[in-house]
Amino acid sequence: MDQNKENWKEQILRSLEGIHRAEVNPFLYAKIVDRLSAPVLIRRVAFPKIALATAGFALLLILNVWVLRSGSEKQTSEETVLINQYNFGLY
């Protein structure tokens, strides 16, 4: 059984013996010449990619500003509470 399987695999591996080249479409050269004479297009990055990148950057910027502002507001309110508690602002 194992010998049969090994023989079978060997047959499969030898199945490319005698292979010849496939023929190329006779109109392929004309297609290449067509593309050669076509005006060169500037490769553009797809709009959704630009939009996605811009939106991501804007979101990151907004989050940074928000975190910074909320941090400084919190600090200010803590200072106010401290001043009020110890009456530092009286004199």
Partner: protein
């Protein structure tokens, strides 16, 4: 007008292409189109994709003729472009397949089918070997890239070891080792197809 001697010399042809000579470009195409198309076909297993890659290879050769440094033969250069482009196309297909699968998971239209190309039978395979070659190409598809390249260039393209080594930019010894490893991997991969034949 170009002489016959000139048309037989790839380097001279490339020099003329660099000067914008279109008949030289046609000579280059006629000399190597079969090799380049067939190399792409063995990788991509699709005639229209192989045609597209062949077009891209010759267009790149046309535009790069002037800057080609002749560190390798022109044919080696063309083969390298074809192989790189074919591997890129395969990677693109795999990404697309993965994306299609993920899209299907989250999409409402979960019945959407993912396109699976039919099994490939190389048109140049001898008639009585077609069924066996179909299974072999199915297994070749699963080989790692380096092993696949060494195997295809040797056993489908029929290139000698030293040319394969030049194309792959590795030593002849490394090519031999890759060929052996490819055969071992293929034997293991063929295990899963064995029952298919028994049915």
């Amino acid at each position: 007008m170009m002489s016959t001697r000139r048309l037989d010399d790839d380097k001279e042809i490339l020099r003329l292409i660099g000067n914008g000579n279109e008949s030289a470009f046609k000579s280059l195409y006629e000399r190597h189109k079969d090799k380049i198309y067939n190399a792409a076909l063995s990788y991509l297993k699709d005639a229209s994709d192989a045609e597209e890659i062949t077009q891209d290879v010759f267009l790149e050769a046309y535009h790069g003729a002037r800057s080609f440094e002749h560190k390798s033969s022109v044919l080696t250069w063309l083969y390298r472009i074809a192989i790189n482009k074919s591997l890129d196309r395969i990677r693109f297909r795999q990404r697309k397949k993965r994306f299609g699968f993920i899209h299907r998971l989250f999409s409402e239209d979960s019945n959407m089918e993912i396109y699976e190309p039919p099994d490939f039978v190389h048109p140049g395979v001898v008639l009585e070997n077609k069924e066996n070659a179909r299974l072999l190409f199915k297994a070749i598809d699963q080989l790692p890239e380096q092993q696949k390249t060494a195997f295809l260039l040797t056993f489908v393209e029929g290139l000698p070891g030293n040319e394969v080594a030049e194309i792959m930019k590795i030593s002849l010894k490394a090519v031999e080792s890759l060929k052996q490893r490819a055969k071992t991997t293929l034997r293991n991969l063929l295990e899963e197809f064995y029952p298919e034949r028994r049915k």
